[in-house]
Symmetry: C2
Subunit: 190 residues, 2 copies
DNA sequence: CGGCTCGGGTTGACGCTGTCAAGTCGTCGT
DNA sequence: ACGACGACTTGACAGCGTCAACCCGAGCCG
């Protein structure tokens, strides 16, 4: 009947992390919330790390989806900016996933290759946009630096809002959204 | 004699985290490495969170010191860029501290006000630089956005190098340093 | 000198955790 | 009819953070 135990475990894990933080994620509590014995989750996940890795993979997949959507609409000249906004919006919408995604010690790349693949997909979106905007004559080093610059800005803004001092002073709401717009506009208008 | 047990505990904690990650930090293992019983550290730290908070505070203090040093030397026009480089350099030099510093759930600001103070000091350096570079006529919103932009770029670059895909492809070494320079130069030359 | 407090530890216990090992039970293929 | 197997349970173990109680030597007070 409960082949969806797997889904229930993932769902319960996300909620647990949202409520108590990553440290509060416990195999046994997840099982309790799913109404099964403490060992049942092991039928679907080898260990605790495998649960987290599944969430990380799902996070990168969702991020890649949103970046792809944002990278298609609008004028070519605005695509990079729109995609940057989509990146920050994802982090603020899905803080649980976003935070997990950038703790590589949680999802060993060798052990969970699907995580790496999903991450590469997200990176690919950005790379394509940069290639498109730089044209075919830019040097590889310049290309790489441009990718890093755009990603760093969006990623830094997202993490500082989420876990840094910007988050402490700027609560979720329109003021925060306005600040994000302002920062990204300032960056683009150079 | 061992009033330096406190120092030994902090030292051992940093080494443990460097070796096994934050999850490997264990009150009991720290005590073992310091050669004392499993309860001895409790004489100096209320609990595990207090150890981590002490490290976070130390991290922000060291960062603020380095930013202050960088923000004083060189031409005024180059100070922002130099300070950005110092920020990234700190993250790469002290990855253990840097990673702890941006997990606010580890060091509750209400419980450990010294952490907040140290963090504010680091932020103050950046704020002063931005004020200096914008002149007195800029609007507060513009000021805030500029601070966020610079900090986001440096912070994003640092965290992506440390825990993101940039770190996976760019090992420590001159190539990485060159990349950092290139990104920051690209950003400044607008 | 005798006794007391007190810092700086120690030992022991508790409930919690992740995970290994083994057992149970219904359903399905042959 | 039966055996295999998937889905799950029960039980055990070591290690963890932390509470509680105890110990011991140095310093002060009478």
């Amino acid at each position: 009947m409960s082949l969806d135990l797997k889904a229930q475990v993932l769902e319960a894990s996300v909620r647990l992390i949202a409520e108590e933080g990553l440290a509060g994620l416990s195999m046994r509590e997840v099982a309790r919330r799913a109404g099964v014995s403490h060992q049942a989750p092991y039928h679907y996940f080898d260990d605790k790390a495998a649960i987290v890795a599944a969430l990380v993979e799902r996070g990168f997949t969702r991020l890649a989806d949103r970046l792809e959507a944002a990278s298609r609409e609008g004028l070519a000249s605005q695509r990079l900016a729109r995609t940057g906004r989509a990146y920050v919006a994802f982090a603020l919408d899905e803080p649980v996933y976003f935070r997990l995604m950038f703790r590589p010690e949680l999802a060993d790349r060798a052990r969970f290759p699907a995580v790496e693949a999903a991450g590469a997909r997200a990176l690919g979106v950005l790379r394509r946009l940069v290639d498109e905007s730089l044209g075919p004559r830019a040097t590889p080093a310049r290309r790489e630096a441009t990718v890093s610059m755009h990603w760093s800005l969006a990623h830094g803004l997202a993490t500082l809002l989420l876990d840094g001092p910007l988050g402490a002073s700027l609560a979720p709401g329109p003021a925060r959204d306005r600040h994000v717009d302002e920062v990204l506009r300032l960056f683009v208008e150079r």
